[in-house]
Amino acid sequence: MSSDPHRPRRQRSAHASLAAHGEPWVWLTGGALSLSVAMIVGLLGFIVSQGIGTFWPRPLELFEISDDRRALGEITAEEAAPDGTRRRLVRTANFEITGRHFEWLADGEVTAVTRPPQATVVERLEGGRFHGLPLRVLKGEETLAEGDQAFAEFARLHPDVRRRIRAVWQIDKQDRGILQRRLRAARLAVVSAELSDGRDTKAWQKAHADEEKQRREIDGAEQVLNEQTARLRGANEGLGFEFATAGGERVVLPLADIVRAWQPNRLSLAEKMGVYASRWGEFLSDDPREANSAGGVFPAIWGTVAMTLIMALLVAPFGVLAALYLREYASRGPLTAAVRIAINNLAGVPSIVYGAFGLGFFCYVLGGSIDSLFFRPALVADGQPTFGTGGLLWASLTLALLTLPVVIVATEEALSAVPNSMREGSYACGASKWQTIRRIVLPRALPGIMTGLILAMARGAGEVAPLMLVGVKKLALDLPIDSSFPFVHPEREFMHLAYLIYDVGFQSPNSQAAKPMVFTITFLLVAIIALLNVTAIWIRGRIKRRYVSQQF
């Protein structure tokens, strides 16, 4: 074997194949990874960069246009027109006056651009934004402040006005809601007595008398509420803020209709951050307004999180039990192979099919049966189904079905990764199969099962198509989990962030103005899914440290 020690080492030929020179696979695999990372980071970066700036107060520019027109607005886009000149898309607002929210201004027709310090942006409850130059604050015919003092006076008056408006909403939603529910319960009691005992029987008459009594009480209570709201509204009555638009019209905006106003050209950085934080706060905690294109998305956040968690609670036991049977009990054979293939194929079924199934089976068959068994009075009295239509429970179940293959496959993988030596050790101790599974196999496989659940949650939280059929609505302000008895209302329809993206982005009457909102909602949805996942990963990490850390 030993060769001549003086013989020179064989040199690698310069003509040797590429594979002999280096590691082409490193470049290939590394390149593939970088490309994937670049795409993912690019997408996330785009969403974040677009979404995060939506609420930042941008300067208002006053454009002097060659045909003696003037326009006041924010520049939202800039591009080269087909003829080579540059043009700018300006958000001019004041839809009720100009008939449009945006306007393209070619550079050639603009004679001057200034930033008047007193230019004001007004967010209104209805009618979109208003851009104008403040003239005076008035109460009825009386001028409270004008000129430079006007905005300061507005800032002083406005918080109280807003507080009264919110109090009115609170009364309308909360207190009147309670009265309505009481009245409905009494009415249903009458119908229920009629259905079980028949008309004019003793029970019916008692229920009827009770309903009359309730109705009188409720009418009295409503009277009180009406007085309260009238008083609150009256205090806001007559308060207005008069503006001049860029075009020269004078417009009075009732203070009660103003959500907030700011003068972007005058704001310091800290004040801009104040406006920014205030708008984020409204976005995260308020109900939507203006066909969801403004205001908050709180019901949608709530609906998304509630649905995702309920879905996870539903899919976990089903998926884990199914996988346990497949992996631990079922004998290997063509039948189990066929079941496994079928499960994998389920993962490829279009999600809208699940939606159709959910609507047909869960809502109509299951929900319909529940209604006719337990909610007959409501069905008869209102002609409205309770469970027999889309709702949180059915949406969660549909998505649980949709994500079931993911959980089954991941659980099976996790179970097969449990070393057989552990199972044998347990059997050798005299454990039965179920004891072995419960005490050894499941704890050991738990991190893997959690991985499946995390994937399922991520997929379920981002799904839209099936939800449109089984319970998600454009607007549903009654939360599915709230403080009114019985606290969880699985039959209620709900809002969902992913659907909101579709709705605001493509169904909005003012889609150009809603575009930044779409990015912000997308950003929020991604953030919520990331938060759910990070929580689950953290829990998984804890379990892993406890059960799996294997050192040899």
């Binding site: 070393p419 044998e424 347990s426 050798a428 101790c429 406890r546």
Partner: protein, 305 residues
């Protein structure tokens, strides 16, 4: 391959070996012949020393055959396992030592293709009786595997596992069993302050001793050790061997090993197996210093296998 039948049993295998055979070893078939016969699928009578038969047996293996599918892995193995002694099974890889061991607590039941014939008796109870409850049977034995296989739970829970699955929840009983078992496995002093830590954080040698503690926790009638030191370093091996010495007398131990020194150091009796047959079985000093068969001598001195 011939379809196996449970019948081909050499009639002399079950009977006590005649005393005069022992001295006549040199006059027997040469090594190659005997092993060649076995390799060709034939039967040779097992040499079971008389001393083995005089011991009271805790476990009796009786004409035991086992097939993996169509391949026969054990051929009419008959041997008594003495009570309170350490019995070592030696032989080259694939000779069926582990299979025999795993047949004792019916772990081979978990392998779908396995068929058996013959029987084993644990203190007189037939192990392969159809009426025998396998779960109850396994509770009467303890087993330690080649690689340490602690369960993914705390040290404490690992030790009392057998009691837990029996539904024992009296803390006092569990604590006591935990301590005596860990002391029995010479692990108590090392882990007494961290009983609630994960067992997976122990070193390999500690894990194996933990598995031994787990196996003796339920006071087994037989302790089955399947090459308990093959995954351990020499120091951990030494500790486990010392432990086996301490277990001698208190437990009946059946140990499979590849390591001749280990067998000669730690066992009272040694059985030599080859290709699924029991070749020679006797007191360890005899097997290692004056075996009846040349084949045995060739194997224990390292000339083949």
């Amino acid at each position: 391959m011939k379809p196996p039948s449970p019948a081909p049993i050499n009639s002399s295998a079950g009977k006590p070996a005649a005393p005069e055979k022992i001295g006549a070893a040199t006059g027997r078939q040469p090594v190659a012949d005997r092993l060649a016969t076995v390799a060709a699928g034939g039967q040779v009578p097992a040499e079971v020393h008389d001393l083995v038969r005089r011991e009271p047996a805790v476990l009796e293996i009786d004409q035991f055959n086992l097939w993996y599918g169509t391949k026969q892995a054990l051929h009419a193995v008959s041997m008594p396992i003495p009570h309170g002694k350490v019995t070592a099974l030696v032989g080259p890889s694939g000779c069926g030592k582990s299979t025999l061991l795993r047949s004792v607590n019916r772990l081979n039941d978990l392998v779908p293709s396995v068929r058996i014939s013959g029987d084993m008796r644990l203190n007189g109870d037939s192990i392969y009786d159809p009426r025998m409850d396998v779960i109850e049977l396994r509770k009467r034995m303890g087993m330690v595997f080649q690689r340490p296989n602690p369960f993914p739970m705390s040290i404490y829970e690992n030790v009392v596992y057998a009691l837990r699955i029996d539904g024992e929840s009296n803390r006092g009983v569990l604590d006591e069993v935990c301590e005596t078992s860990l002391r029995g496995a010479a692990l108590w002093d090392e882990v007494k302050d961290r009983l609630s830590d994960s067992a997976l954080g122990l070193s390999g040698g500690q894990q194996q001793r933990l598995c031994i503690a787990r196996a003796i926790a339920a006071e087994p009638e037989v302790l089955l050790l399947d090459e308990p030191c093959s995954a351990l370093d020499p120091i951990a091996t030494g500790k486990v061997e010392d432990l086996i010495q301490e277990l001698r007398g208190r437990y009946s131990v059946l140990i499979v090993t590849h390591n001749m020194q280990q067998a000669s150091r730690s066992s009272d009796y040694t059985a030599f197996m080859y290709l699924g047959r029991l070749i020679e079985y006797g007191p360890t000093p005899d097997i290692f210093t004056k075996p009846v068969l040349r084949e045995t001598e060739a194997y224990v001195t390292g000339r083949f296998g």
